[in-house]
Amino acid sequence: MSSHLVYALVGGLLFSIGTYGLIVRPHMIHKIISTNFMGSGVFLVLIGLGNRTPSGVPDPVPQAMVLTGIVVTVALTALSLAIAKRYFSLTGRGDISEHREERVG
């Protein structure tokens, strides 16, 4: 098995772990960490799978995609941390599980 495929598979594993954490864990910090897991997973997949130029020169496009993705993920992480901090200071809680009041008006 080529090493690139290992990266890709690990990336997929990370992505799944992150998805599980994002959906299941109620605490916001856990969710934020999970999204970073997902992001890293996708980047690994991009690098692992995307190395395809026949002449042996590394394909620059996936690298560009990963760099862009990292930047976007950082910005989003910053926003989510800001929201988490503000929410904690307002309510003293960190989990955003559903409250019964907000469901049926």
């Binding site: 998805t19 996708v42 799978l49 996936p62 995609m65 910005a75 926003l79 907000e102 008006g105």
Partner: protein, 493 residues
């Protein structure tokens, strides 16, 4: 090259420049600056549509690079139509927002941040509608997400923060999944440009998996049942002009990308299970969203669930678009017409809900009796918007619904027609539940504060535009067919 040739770039740069300028100018001038920007953008959008109608679709090479190295902006009928929708709704919402947000105290509204975010959102939407590259779509989706979440949480209360946080996480889940799909697609085909992807059939397990992942992610971002959970609270907790833009435009953004994938990137007959699944989920959305709307006791939640239901129609159109082994043009026109009329009507609905909330001090439906007498313009706006939701004449929604029903009978998939007719009845139920309260005897609103006239008339204008859109459908049809499917597969009438 003249200005007209640079329209796609101008449409993205103008709101961005406006946003940057709001940081520089005095806080007092911000509303005026934003209004001017909005008017300019609307003019540009109109110019784009005129250009596309007159000279056909065209591609714009950003930075002169061109695909496959650079990113192309594509201006064909569908993109021009959505950009125009964004412009009209954005203009109306901006005019409303200048009164809603005001320039008062020290909160976030007062610090002028809202205007920058507002224009950032507009930038991102225009970019999303005009881009021709699947990775660029990811970037635009994330931009839209950031701006929208920030606008939702700007209200500041714990409710808004919680709703915004759930929205943010759902958005990120969707975006990451989408990116994973793009990764798989790229590894299989080596292309990111939509047109190139479309001309070389995207076969193979990796490509198909990638496409499925991308569509699933977009489905999450468009709030299709059963992954709609984030939308009602987010749209209800946001300030009303923001809700209007969210329901009218932001959900249409991810739907637009699905349209692109379905029409341009996949070839007819590929992934047939996808069509039926999307259609079935759309049908479920219609029913579930309407039933939930009926159960709500607050106006904004009712309107938000109505959005969930109406989006279902857009997805029911998808199996109809790809029936018969080609692209059924009528179904695409119907979906586009529905998206546009819903956008206008829903914006009007949310704006009037916001005005009602301002007047009454709350948005509990049961305590709004008598509103038809004290605020007739707002009650009428809600009713007229409801007519589009119900798909009754006279409205663009009716024409769209009729075309979809006719198409579904014609291609032999009549069950979609049955769902849509039932959906119309359910929409009538929740719309008239609201209207009945307005008409009932009651005190109406306290009516002491002064409210600018435009907070009343803008919703009515938007809702009426949706109603009168019925007469503009032929033009929409012409526009939508320009450049449809890149002229590839056979476009059936």
């Amino acid at each position: 090259m003249t200005l007209v040739d640079h329209l796609p770039a101008a449409l993205i740069m103008t709101p961005l420049a406006g946003a940057a300028l709001t940081f520089v100018t005095r806080r007092r001038w911000d509303p005026a600056l934003v209004m001017v920007t909005a008017v300019v953008i609307t003019g540009l959008a109109l110019a784009l549509s005129v250009r596309v109608l007159a000279e056909g679709a065209f591609r714009y090479r950003l930075g002169g690079w061109g695909a496959p190295l650079g990113i192309d902006l594509v201006a064909d009928g569908i993109s021009a139509l959505f950009v125009l929708l964004a412009a009209v709704v954005g203009l109306a919402a901006t005019a409303y927002a200048t009164s809603y947000f005001g320039t008062g105290d020290e909160d976030a509204y007062g610090r002028g941040l809202v205007w920058a975010l507002w224009l950032f959102l507009w930038t991102a939407l225009n970019a999303l509608f005009l881009t021709g590259d699947v990775f660029n779509v990811y970037v635009c989706l994330e931009l839209v997400g950031i701006s929208a979440v920030a606008l939702v949480t700007l209200g500041g209360g714990a409710d808004a923060l919680r709703a915004g946080a759930r929205y943010l996480f759902a958005s990120m889940l969707g975006a990451m999944t989408y990116l994973l799909g793009v990764a798989l697609l790229y590894s299989a085909t080596g292309h990111l440009d939509m047109a190139t992807l479309g001309s070389a059939p995207t076969q193979g397990i990796a490509a198909s998996t990638g496409l499925v992942l991308m569509v699933s992610a977009l489905v999450l971002k468009t709030a299709l049942v059963p992954v709609h959970f984030w939308l009602p609270t987010a749209h209800a907790a946001a300030p009303s002009p923001v809700s209007a833009v969210l329901s009218a435009l932001v959900v249409k953004g991810s739907y637009y990308v699905i349209l692109r994938l379905v029409l341009d990137v996949t070839y007819p007959g590929q992934l047939p299970g996808l069509d039926v699944t999307l259609g079935a989920l759309g049908a479920a959305s219609i029913v579930w969203g309407s039933v939930q709307a009926l159960l709500q006791t607050r106006v904004k939640l009712l309107v938000a669930y109505s959005t969930v239901a109406q989006i279902g129609y857009l997805f029911v159109a998808i199996p109809l678009m790809r029936a018969d082994g080609g692209i059924v043009g009528v179904a695409v026109t119907a979906a586009a017409a529905h998206a546009v009329s819903h956008g206008l009507a829903k914006a009007g609905f949310f704006l009037s809900a916001g005005s009602l909330q301002h007047r009454f001090g709350h948005d509990r439906i049961s305590e709004m009796a008598g509103a038809a007498r004290t605020t007739p313009v707002l009650a009428m706006a809600c009713a007229v918007a409801g007519v589009t939701m119900m798909g009754l004449p006279p409205s663009g929604g009716f024409v769209a619904k009729w075309l979809l029903i006719l198409t579904s009978i014609n291609v032999g998939q009549w069950w979609w027609a049955a769902v849509m007719i039932a959906g119309g009845l359910l929409s009538a139920a929740y719309t008239f539940r609201l209207v009945a309260v307005f008409v009932a005897e009651g005190a109406g609103d306290p009516g002491d504060a002064h409210h600018p006239a435009r907070t009343e008339w803008l919703p009515l204008l938007l809702a009426s535009a949706a109603a009168l859109l019925a007469f503009a459908i032929p033009q929409i049809d012409t526009l939508v067919r320009i450049g449809m499917n890149l002229g590839r597969a056979e476009v059936l009438p």
